[in-house]
């Protein structure tokens, strides 16, 4: 690869040194932005495929696996309608789900309690250690 830079530390403008491992370890290892209404990916990284598992239920499959199942997931939704949507990381409407090292579940639901629904903007990202 051209243009390789090897550095153990980075110096801030204020003169403070930080280890490059902070940057690497703190980077998101995967993200997926998709339209739940069409199950189509708009943008992504480290994703091999999207599972459309039913109304408001999806799965994001990873290319470079995580080291263990204790990684951190975060995300958000933009509904495109008058409903307020929630995003959860669970494979069913009832039970919490531990993500595997190679995939994580995404569930979008109506915050008003009217059940699962698809969100126009469904966004998630994973932080943690890679295998």
């Amino acid at each position: 690869m051209a243009g390789k830079i090897i550095a153990d530390t980075i110096e801030t403008g204020a003169g403070a040194d930080i280890s490059t491992s902070y940057v690497v370890n703190g980077s998101a290892k995967a993200f997926a932005n998709f339209d739940g209404n069409t199950a189509s990916l708009r943008g992504s990284f480290n994703v091999s495929s999207l599972d459309d598992d039913g109304l408001g239920l999806f799965g994001v499959n990873l290319t470079s696996s995580m080291s263990d199942g204790n990684y951190n997931l975060s995300g958000g939704t933009g509904s495109g309608d008058t409903n307020v949507h929630h995003i959860h990381f669970a494979a069913t409407n009832l039970s919490p789900t531990t993500p595997s090292t190679s995939a994580y579940p995404v569930k979008t639901a109506n915050a008003g309690g009217a059940g699962l629904l698809d969100s126009l903007y469904t966004m998630s990202e994973a932080h943690g250690d890679l295998a």
């Binding site: 690869m1 495929s49 999207l50 599972d51 039913g54 290319t63 470079s64 696996s65 190679s102 890679l130």
Partner: protein
């Protein structure tokens, strides 16, 4: 564009290279499968960046690597991967056609019990089709099943 020699390079770093250098490829193929008789049909949608890697070649590990890691993860008492090096050290697969890439993706991302005997029983549990063969709206999404028409078309 020539893929750099990536054997021994962390897979995540290879994906960074691909993101920077390859155009995403939107595939029209979809894999429709029935994971459980009690659930609606599921649809596997290939990721455009991943598909670009598959078509380019020299980036993705062989699919057996994922099966080995899945075996490790299925062990009782699994804490974390200790054979992650398989992803990075194994010689990457060569360029695939789009159809070969879909087959690879089925083996990687569909449940094993689906693809191992997808064509046994009264009707297939898995079908490869084109996006336009699927319903155009998601009405009654939770009632979708593999139809006779979809099966014939595939």
């Amino acid at each position: 564009m020539q893929t750099p020699s990536f054997q021994g390079t962390h897979l995540w770093d290879r994906l960074c290279w691909a993101k920077e250098n390859l155009e995403p490829h939107q595939s029209d193929y979809r894999v429709v499968y029935e994971d459980s008789i009690d659930e609606c049909a599921k649809i596997l949608v290939p990721d455009p960046n991943w598909m670009a890697c598959a078509l380019q070649g020299g980036i993705l590990p062989p699919v057996w690597v994922y099966h080995e890691l899945a075996k490790d993860e299925a062990q009782e008492g699994f804490k974390k991967h200790t054979r992650g090096y398989l992803l990075h050290e194994t010689e990457p697969v060569e360029a695939m056609t789009e159809e070969e890439a879909i087959e690879y993706l089925i083996l990687k991302d569909c449940p094993r019990h689906v693809w191992e005997n997808y064509n046994e029983g009264n009707r297939p549990k898995m079908v490869i089709c084109k996006k336009e063969q699927l319903p155009q709206t998601r009405e009654w999404r939770n009632a979708w099943k593999i139809s006779e028409e979809l099966n014939i078309a595939a």
